[in-house]
Symmetry: C2
Subunit: 430 residues, 2 copies
């Protein structure tokens, strides 16, 4: 008989998934084997965009994960609790789990995957990163013959939408945010998106897959886009860059220990770079490996249909597993990590920087800046007096690759110079 799903949640993603599964014609034939057996909701009386019989809908989510008839639990309720507890119970009961919950996986991944491995079942999470874009499965399968050197992504549609509009319209962050909230592209409380926390969850998951180890979310450096000004976007443009919120996981090749840097921050991206032309709510993930070189995955990072596509493809994979009654080591591998990845502190990062200074227009101020940078081995690519803001002269600096710790020391010394009024902007350059 059919494979029985217990779906937890019937919000945007849950509804999209039910719609896709109820409308199987022209899709993969294995979808016909699926029965939507239970759907757990908060209220039985709310109007729903999908038709489900009264015995399918239930408010008892515990009963779903404990029901022996359920083969696969599809967690699309989001949030940390009770999602975490329900996932763990489902796994302990020997059920495979499909989840779109990046926040729960990024925080409780170790616990969840340990439970899955003990029970010999799968946790599938294609929808947790990049919406509908197939990126988890390719990282686990096709790309896993490569040594991954870096994963760099635009993985948050809200912030990319805001930055794209700031770029094209020359607008302020707060104006675009307010408009995005009105249009439904940003939530009423935009913190998780705007502060980079959502992107941090996602890069932690991608790093774990790409570098075969667990990631401690606290080790992921995270800086949002509130500080990105239209002034800096305009200067970046003149210098040949666009500013993007990038999530980056990178192997530190030069260091003796094999550490990673895992971080989220606004970044100046050269216009010719594949990620520079990813605009609006779209997401893209660039994977660099040996021997493949650069591969990029692009698509809708959110939305009911795209996310339902990813959730359903995970369900499909599990149906294939259940039909053949085997555990495919290929699929399982990514859950098997026991070790935590060592993540280097940001001071050890080697990167280029963009900085903007406001200075009292004294003769020799550029020379003084140059001297301070030189004292800490910070080599400059360009230093330009770009104009005036009131009585103050504005100077923009772009460095070559430098150790972040050294750069910060130079900045501290510069800040103490009498000629320096302030350092309004400091951004990393890809």
């Amino acid at each position: 008989m059919g494979v029985k799903l217990g779906i937890l949640g019937l919000g945007t993603v849950g509804t999209g998934t039910v719609q896709l599964l109820q409308d199987g014609a022209g899709r993969h034939p294995l979808l016909q084997e699926i029965e939507i057996y239970r759907v757990g909701v908060r209220s039985l009386h709310k109007h729903r965009a999908v038709e489900l019989s009264t015995e399918v809908l239930t408010t008892d989510l515990e009963a779903i994960v404990n029901d022996p008839a359920v083969d696969i639990v599809v967690e699309v309720m989001g949030g940390l609790e009770p999602a975490r507890s329900l996932i763990l119970k489902a796994l302990n009961n020997g059920k495979h789990v499909v989840t779109a919950n990046k926040a729960a996986i990024a925080r409780f991944g170790a616990e969840i995957f340990t439970a899955a491995n003990q029970a010999g079942v799968y946790v599938m999470l294609e929808a947790a990163v990049g919406g509908g874009i197939p990126v988890i499965q390719p990282l686990k399968q096709s790309l896993s013959v490569n040594r991954i050197n870096a994963i760099t992504g635009i993985v948050n549609g809200t912030t990319n939408y805001i930055l794209t509009r700031m770029q094209t319209e020359g607008s302020n962050f707060s104006d675009v945010l307010a408009d995005a909230q009105q249009l439904g592209y940003a939530e009423a409380d935009p913190t998780a998106d705007v502060e980079g926390l959502d992107a941090a969850d996602k890069i932690a998951i991608l790093a774990s897959l790409g570098f075969d180890g667990r990631i401690n979310l606290q080790d992921v450096y995270c800086e949002g886009i509130r500080q990105v000004s239209k002034t800096d976007i305009a200067y970046a443009e003149k210098l040949g860059f666009v500013i993007k919120l990038l999530a980056i996981a990178k192997r530190n090749i030069s260091s003796f220990s094999s550490s990673l840097s895992v971080r989220v921050h606004p970044t100046l991206v050269p216009k010719a770079h594949p990620l520079a032309s990813i605009n609006g709510v779209y997401n893209a993930i660039l994977v660099e490996g040996e021997p493949i070189g650069q591969v990029m995955f692009f698509g809708p990072g959110a939305g009911a249909g795209a996310t339902a596509s990813a959730v359903s493809s995970d369900i499909l994979n599990l149906v294939a597993v259940l039909k053949t009654k085997t555990v495919d080591p290929n699929l399982l591998l990514a859950c098997g990590h026991q070790e935590y990845c060592q993540i280097a502190p940001m001071a050890e990062l080697v990167t280029r920087f963009y900085a903007r200074f406001l200075t009292k227009d004294q003769p020799g101020v550029i020379g003084k800046l140059g001297t301070c940078f030189g004292n800490y081995n910070v080599s400059l690519e360009s230093i330009v007096q770009t104009g005036f803001q009131g009585e103050l002269a504005e100077i923009v600096v772009v460095t070559h690759d430098v150790r972040e710790g050294n750069f910060r020391q130079a900045l501290a010394e510069i800040q103490s110079l009498e000629a320096i009024d302030s350092i309004p902007s400091l951004l990393r350059v890809l």
Copy 2:
């Protein structure tokens, strides 16, 4: 014990694959289970970039596909024969096959997949399209829950390199081709690339996967890039387009029967389109489906390392299958088609056109053009007299969506006008 490979061919791709497999540290652990058991070559005395013992190297390729000890045959010799016969023999002997041979699959796919299905083994072909880019596996798995509406790709690196250089340098086709040949980006006989034949093989394969049916290669319309002039590239640029050689497979939604259009031709691509910024030797494949929307895969379309990555990922998938001793219906599906897709004749295609006319500078020639187009329901987006070539006036026309048959009829009538000297360019617009 290990899984035994019989590799046919030790050229660029074969050598890259052996190098990858011999250097397993930091890659998927299942690669350790692989033994390079036999490698078939033309000459035992040629210097090789990889070390292989004398009992591994052999010139007897028949012996490899007939050897009961061989689990997987990896066909990386290319060409039609003896590749086709060796693949068929391997399959009939119950061996799984990995191949990078788009020409053989596009021509003999029906025969090859029939043999594979009869023997209950797999034919894996990730490397046949898009070099290292994972696109075959995502189409078979992650995206297969979608109804695919269109697959549009830049799948030939040589022509994309030539067009990119023509665009950036304002050069002629023949000059750039000669230079590309010198640099090794184009072959001494560039026919398969430049005439679009290589791209046609690849879109036939992608269409078969995306639309679940066999494709008769003779039905694929194919037009190369020899006729693309720097004049048209410059006009396209002014109109907001770049010219790319696109391979397109699309469901004809409007028609009553469910036919496809499958075609390769130079195309004006709007600059904001995701494929417009794919430059140089890179490939990209854009998949449009319901409910996912647009997803694009980007990466190196050729080269030893990239192709070795794809070949090795196929081998890895098969090793997982062999370890669990099951046939995964998910993997097999794409080989199972019995029916041929119905491909509509080009006259039925609905598309926009760009055309350039040289006319005798008579009063009213634009009016006459407009009348002819109107006679065949060809609606114009723009018609501009762009300048003069000698005594002749040059007029550039861009249409709205029109039926190609109607457009051709209008052109025939226009060609017969006394005021028309010639129609040097005719290109489709995405």
